[in-house]
């Protein structure tokens, strides 16, 4: 009997058995599906989160801000999360912008929100220097335009537009604070003049207004010169009074970045987080044990699933002894009945891995939704990750292994003594 025919016969018998024990088979398939889905989700999510948070393209490689935590600076400036570590005087920005080692510098001022979405004051350089993807600038949807630095105008991210209902021509009042937790509104309406096309990045969750707009909001007091200063309408604001939350910097190469980092960070006025990805990777490295624990739990679930496959098959062995004896009496070899059980357990694991893909997509979609909601970072379940093909292969192997013990029991079935028991 050829190998193909042998396997085909085994599959035919195994398939029948799976149908015959549909309930227990389904439960076991479900446990295998949960296990494989969980493994794929944990591994793919952790890898993709690390990549997404550390490798997001903005066209900048450093963040300049107040003396303090680099991570806080990056989270606040790049991901628009966390609070600002403090302000830096305009002169720090001016010095950086004038530095030959700096190719571009984009100032940010934060501190206000609209319905929880951050308002970031910046310059018109935003429309030129910010690169959501390599070689691309931020694109404004048709019908919109860039804000004018002299007017109360705003360009908003796509998520802001979708969630708040704001569109071109809409007016809104900025509220104090970055979280939207009941801060008082500043008088003076802003008009939306443009909506950015989706970037699938934190930018989508930001309301961008001119720098001057932030300085001139009623109630905003500037301390850039060490004394309080409130801007008056029609009166220019001297640079020494201006303050910034941070500056996005594009250096002229890694040598320049390294030198700037050394020079700025050894002083006590400012912090330069360079390269941006390193600050984020430090977090992931610090939290590496959490990921390891999660991965360990996922692997344990696979072991439990393998155990449930083994148990469900092993428990049917006594009732199926006669079936195997009949098959053997009909000419099935011992290896055939062994193969039937191994194929059956492998099929359960394979079906589990197949359904596990659905579990993976559901889990990933839910997690990605939360991440996007909270950070604006987009995670893609379709993005290739080795776990997506190694897990199904691994599940098949685990399934086959789980079938070995019951298969051995089937292998040892003695025809004459078993059939002497009678029955159908």
């Amino acid at each position: 009997m050829s190998l193909v025919r042998g396997i085909s016969n085994c599959w035919r018998i195994a398939r029948k058995s799976l149908r015959q024990h549909a309930l227990s088979s389904s439960v076991t398939v479900a446990s295998a599906a949960l296990a494989s889905g969980l493994v794929m989700s944990v591994f793919a999510l952790s890898a993709q989160s690390r990549d997404a948070f550390s490798g997001g393209e903005t066209g900048f490689d450093a963040v300049l801000g107040a003396k303090g935590s680099e991570l806080q600076l990056v989270m606040n400036t790049v991901f628009h999360l966390d609070t600002s570590p403090g302000n830096i005087p305009w002169s720090v920005y001016a010095a950086a912008k004038a530095d030959r080692r700096v190719e571009a510098a984009l100032p940010y001022v934060v501190g206000d929100n609209y319905k929880g979405f951050r308002i970031v004051g910046t310059t018109e350089d935003l429309f030129i220097e910010f690169h959501p993807r390599e070689g691309e600038t931020l694109q404004i949807e048709p019908g919109g335009r860039a804000f004018s630095p002299l007017h109360r105008e705003a360009v908003i991210g796509s998520v802001v537009a979708a969630r708040t209902g704001l569109g071109v021509g809409s007016k809104f009042l900025a509220a104090h604070g970055v979280t939207g937790a009941g801060g008082a509104s500043h008088p003076g309406e802003y008009t939306v003049v443009g909506v950015f096309e989706p970037t699938h990045a934190p930018t989508d969750r930001v309301i961008w207004i001119p720098l001057e707009g932030v300085y001139r909001m009623e109630g905003h007091v500037l301390f850039g010169a060490g004394e309080s200063f409130e801007a008056q309408d029609g009166e220019a604001i001297p640079d020494e009074h201006k303050e910034l939350s941070a500056v996005m910097i594009r250096t002229r190469g890694s040598g320049a970045g390294r030198m700037l980092e050394y020079e700025i960070n050894k002083g006590d006025q400012a912090t330069l987080a360079w390269p941006i990805s390193e600050s984020i990777l430090q977090v992931f490295d610090k939290l590496g044990w959490v990921v390891l624990v999660l991965e360990g739990v996922a692997v344990m679930v696979v072991v439990v699933a393998a155990g449930s496959i083994l148990a469900s098959l092993y428990n049917t062995m006594n009732e199926r002894r006669k079936e195997f004896a009949v098959l053997r009496a009909l000419g099935a070899r011992r290896r055939t009945v062994f193969g039937v059980i191994v194929i059956e357990s492998t099929a359960i694991a394979g079906l589990g891995a197949l359904v596990g893909m659905l579990v993976y997509f559901a889990t990933f979609a839910a997690a990605a939704g939360i991440v996007r909601e909270q950070t604006g970072v987009v995670l893609d379940p379709w993005m290739a990750h080795p776990a997506l093909y190694w897990t199904p292969i691994g599940m098949l192997a685990v399934g086959a292994l789980a079938g070995l013990l019951p298969a051995w029991k089937a292998y040892r079935t003695e025809v004459a003594t078993t059939l002497a028991g009678g029955g159908y």
Binding site: M1, R5, N9, R12, I13, K16, S17, Q20, K322, E323, A325, V326, L327, R328, A329, L330, G331, A332, R333, R334, R335, T336, V415, A416, L419, A420, G422, G423, Y424
Partner: protein, 226 residues
């Protein structure tokens, strides 16, 4: 040349007390191709063991079993399995159909390890046995007589050279027993298979022209009372 030649066949078991008990001791037995022979098998005469030895399910201690030119004693278990699938049909007293499979699937199971799946022939056998409208029924949905007919179809599914029948009508009433026996003999004739039937029922045995008493063939059974 006979289809089946047995010489000096011996099989013993060790009892739980450690005592060796000889169950089969048959000096000689032959069966020609297409021949239909009945063996009278009293209880304890070793009839099931004798058939299991011929089928290659059990390995004898010594002797020779030559079937269709193949020496089975000394052959590996794997070879005996393959040989059984292709050359021997087995009808059990207790039918031994698989309850989760339909009548048709039970017959097809017999083909899987032998000549290969032939649904048309499986259906033909079931039709021939009057089960055309019961092919999709599972054994628990069939009467005892119908179950036995499915077992007959399965035994003949691989067009065997030899059909071994161990008390094939033992679970049936007189009417159904006679009917099943008639069908078995007819089918064996039609398919060109020899038949070796073991029974303790004299009404069954009397229908065979050639019949032997197993307790006379088997020297180990001569002491067993009738």
């Amino acid at each position: 040349m006979p289809l089946l030649e047995i010489s000096d066949l011996s099989k013993s078991y060790r009892s739980p007390e450690g005592e060796v008990q000889v169950i089969i001791d048959v000096p000689t037995f032959t069966l020609d191709a297409h021949q239909q022979v009945a063996l009278e098998g009293r209880s304890g005469s070793g009839k099931t063991t004798f058939l299991n030895l011929i089928a290659g399910i059990l390995r004898p201690d010594s002797g020779s079993i030559r079937l269709a030119g193949q020496e089975l004693v000394g052959a590996s278990e794997s070879l005996r399995d393959a040989f059984r699938a292709r050359h021997i049909g087995y009808v059990f007293q207790a039918f031994h159909l698989l309850s989760g499979h339909t009548a048709l699937e039970n017959v097809e199971l017999g083909m899987l390890f032998g000549a290969g799946l032939d649904r048309a022939f499986a259906e033909h056998l079931l039709e021939r046995l009057g089960l055309a409208d019961r092919m999709r029924y599972r054994p628990p949905q069939l009467s005892l007589g119908q179950q036995q007919r499915v077992a007959l179809a399965r035994a003949l599914a691989n067009r065997p050279d030899l059909v071994l029948a161990d008390e094939p009508t033992g679970s049936l009433d007189l009417h159904h027993a006679a009917e099943a026996l008639g069908l078995l003999r007819e089918l064996c004739t039609e398919e060109g298979a020899a038949l070796l039937l073991v029974s303790h029922d004299h009404k069954i045995l009397e229908t065979f022209e050639t019949r032997y008493a197993l307790h006379e063939l088997n020297r180990a059974a001569r002491e067993v009372p009738a």
